[in-house]
């Protein structure tokens, strides 16, 4: 079995598992039907069974020559996981710190990490201190006006480092 087929089989198995999990959840939903004859658990069961069938079918396709009518994936054959790790770190650190550092600084940090990730996937090595500072400045220059627009003009609460609404 080729590597591509193994990956496709994993996707099919994943869909199958989601279907099973949905079915597990559906057993806990009440079936009380009222006039219509179908209760709140009807659609969950339909979705669960459909996902299981789709998953099984995807598995079958994967084992019998691969997904049908599928384009070859766009881009490189091998993923650039180091760049991916940088961008992932940016997004998750942003989620973890946004309430503590405030929107502007947390997003600027995410921006810096993401740029580093993209640069490394483009083949450039680690950015120097100058590059990091430059990206920090650009990140703040993007995040700050967005923050002010939301907090000052639209009065939508975004977290700040201070409670002034400016930082």
């Amino acid at each position: 079995m080729s590597r591509a087929a193994t990956k496709q089989a994993a996707v099919g198995a994943g869909v199958l598992l989601v279907g099973l999990a949905m079915a597990g959840g559906a057993t806990t939903i009440s079936a009380e039907a009222g006039y219509s004859g179908v209760g709140p658990n009807f659609l969950p069961w339909v979705v669960a069974v459909a996902l299981m069938v789709c998953g099984a079918w995807l598995l079958r396709e994967a084992f019998s020559g691969g997904f049908r009518q599928a384009d070859a994936p766009e881009g490189a054959e091998q993923g650039h996981w180091r760049g991916f790790a940088w961008v992932s770190a940016g997004l998750l650190i942003n989620a973890a710190l946004i309430t503590r550092l405030g929107f502007i600084l947390s997003c600027a940090l995410c921006f810096m990490l993401a740029v580093q990730g993209f640069k490394s996937s483009e083949g450039a090595g680690a950015l120097g201190i100058k590059g990091w500072l430059f990206n920090a400045a650009v990140g703040i220059a993007i995040a700050a006006p967005v923050y002010w627009m939301f907090s000052q003009l639209l009065a939508i609460n975004l977290p700040g480092l201070t409670s002034t609404g400016w930082l």
Partner: protein, 504 residues
């Protein structure tokens, strides 16, 4: 007729206030930018800006969102003509001839025919929306829950099986979307489903989160993983100008394409991929210069698809406004925007929110004029956007993704979920699953469920309610046809080849 004129005039008065004109201009500008930039499309942009529905009044924000929606179609053509990668899906066909024209030094003419064609088609399509939407709404008032349920089923089937290449992967995507729609409080009895007692999940998943995750975050993650080494090349610009000959060849293409595009936008067969391909094929067949197709670039091949694209996009507003049925990613998110205001698009919209609807329609006329100005004399400005370095561009998109998702519910939990949805999007793209069914399924799923249960209540629990009513029986037949016909045709073709003694 007089009635429509009166209401449209009222719409122009509402849309013509300085503040609404400003929203329209802002929408068109952001839309064009979003269309030009890779990595972000109209659906993502509208989704990221959904938090403004918390504060801005509905008329202004719908005008704004509509501007982004069709502005992106204008901007998309610029990228697909000047770069070797199309800006958004509907512009893929434009790229075929547009790129060839640009390579032989006629980028300016291609840009001109795209922009003017978009204007012509968009305006004609808007006239058709003006004339027909009220009629459709009038008729749709008579439809009951069984008919609505089947219309939604039709939308599900077409969006998942007609658009993509594989029905199996389309349906898988649809059911993933439906599963997402199940999370949270159920509409009829108010029961909690699939919340796992996580308080953040009680209100359900936000459409912003799903759309931004699947489109923006997934796009960024995919680009960093697989597309870092791709080098993009840009074609040389030339003066934005069409010769008399080019005008003569563009006109018929624009008109034909408009009438190909509009019907496809109206029916729930969603998106603009099919009409743009049809228009391209028609122009290639009818052209007096077939030798230019695929070689030096034929102007009809840009004029037609670009006009068809805009006509279809404008016409998707008919099912959205009159039936409440979205047929594309962006209209699905527009439906979400309406829902944020507690407005349910559908036939009653033309009665209950007449002012809003007509202001929105009037703004389409105004927006098309604005976009013509933004895209012809100012095209050089947008071309500069193409020079933005990719790393900073994608990283910037992530900041906007954060503000859109966080601004909606102020929850850091949503940001973690956003990352998860982004990963899902990467897997879907890598294995060629379509994403539109996920978004449409998620938004339309809960509505379809409510309609189905109401329909069954009318039928006192009997499923026969779906075949006893004439309109619903016809719709049911259509659903079956959409699912079976392509399969039957393929089977028949294979059989015929076998009968003829050829290998299939």
């Amino acid at each position: 007729m007089g009635d429509i004129g009166q209401q449209l005039l009222q719409g122009f008065i509402t849309a013509g206030t300085p503040i609404n004109l400003m929203w329209a201009l802002l929408g068109c500008t952001i839309g064009t930018a979003v269309g030009v930039l890779p990595g972000i499309g109209p659906a993502t942009a509208v989704a990221m800006l959904l938090p403004i529905t918390l504060k801005v009044d509905p008329t202004a924000s719908m005008i704004f969102f509509a501007g982004i929606y069709y502005g992106a179609m204008y901007g998309g053509s610029t990228t697909s003509i000047l770069m070797n990668t199309p800006g958004e899906a509907g512009s893929m066909v434009t790229a075929l001839e547009g790129n060839k024209m640009a390579k032989s030094g006629r980028a300016g003419a291609a840009l001109a025919t795209a922009a003017i064609g978009s204007f012509v088609a968009g305006t004609i399509a808007t006239v058709l929306v003006t004339l027909f939407a009220p009629a459709v709404a009038n008729y749709a008032v008579q439809l009951g829950p069984p008919e609505y349920f089947l219309l939604m089923m039709l939308a599900f089937c077409t969006v998942s099986s007609v658009l993509g290449k594989s029905t199996l992967r389309g349906l898988t995507a649809l059911f993933v979307g439906l599963a997402m729609g199940l999370v949270g409080q159920e509409q009829i009895s108010g029961q909690m489903r699939y919340t796992g007692n996580v308080p953040e999940l009680m209100d359900g998943l936000e459409v912003v989160l799903i759309a931004v995750g699947l489109f923006a975050v997934a796009e960024a993650l995919y680009a960093v993983l697989y597309q870092g080494r791709e080098v993009e090349t840009q074609n040389a610009m030339s003066k934005v100008h069409m010769t008399r000959e080019e005008w003569r060849r563009s006109w018929p293409a624009w008109l034909r394409a408009t009438f190909i595009g509009v019907p496809f936008g109206c029916i729930p067969a969603g998106g603009s991929e099919i009409p743009t391909f049809l228009s391209y094929a028609a122009e290639k067949k009818l052209s007096k210069h077939p030798e230019q197709f695929g070689t030096t670039g034929a102007i009809e091949g840009v004029a037609g698809p670009e006009a068809a694209n805009n006509a279809a996009i404008t016409a998707t507003l008919i099912p959205l406004l009159t039936l409440g049925i979205p047929t594309s990613n962006t209209t699905a998110i527009l439906l979400g925007a309406f829902q944020n205001y507690g407005i349910q698009p559908g036939p009653q919209l033309f009665d209950k929110n007449a002012a809003l609807v007509w202001a929105l329609i009037a703004s389409l006329y105004i927006g098309n004029v604005m976009l013509l100005v933004l895209n012809l004399p100012l095209v050089g400005l947008w071309v500069k956007l193409l020079k933005l370095p990719k790393a900073q561009l994608y990283a910037g998109i992530l900041i906007f993704a954060t503000v859109g998702v966080y601004g909606m519910r102020q929850s850091a939990f949503d940001l973690v979920l956003l990352y998860g949805i982004g990963l899902l999007g990467v897997v879907m793209r890598r294995f060629d699953f379509p994403t539109a069914p996920v978004v449409v399924g998620m938004i339309l799923g809960p509505l379809a469920e409510a309609q189905m249960r109401n329909a069954l209540s009318i039928g006192e629990g009997h499923w026969s309610v779906f075949v006893q009513r004439p309109v619903s029986a016809v719709l049911l037949a259509l659903v079956v046809a959409v699912l079976l016909l392509p399969r039957l045709m393929r089977w028949w073709r294979v059989r015929r080849l076998q009968v003829a003694g050829l290998p299939s």
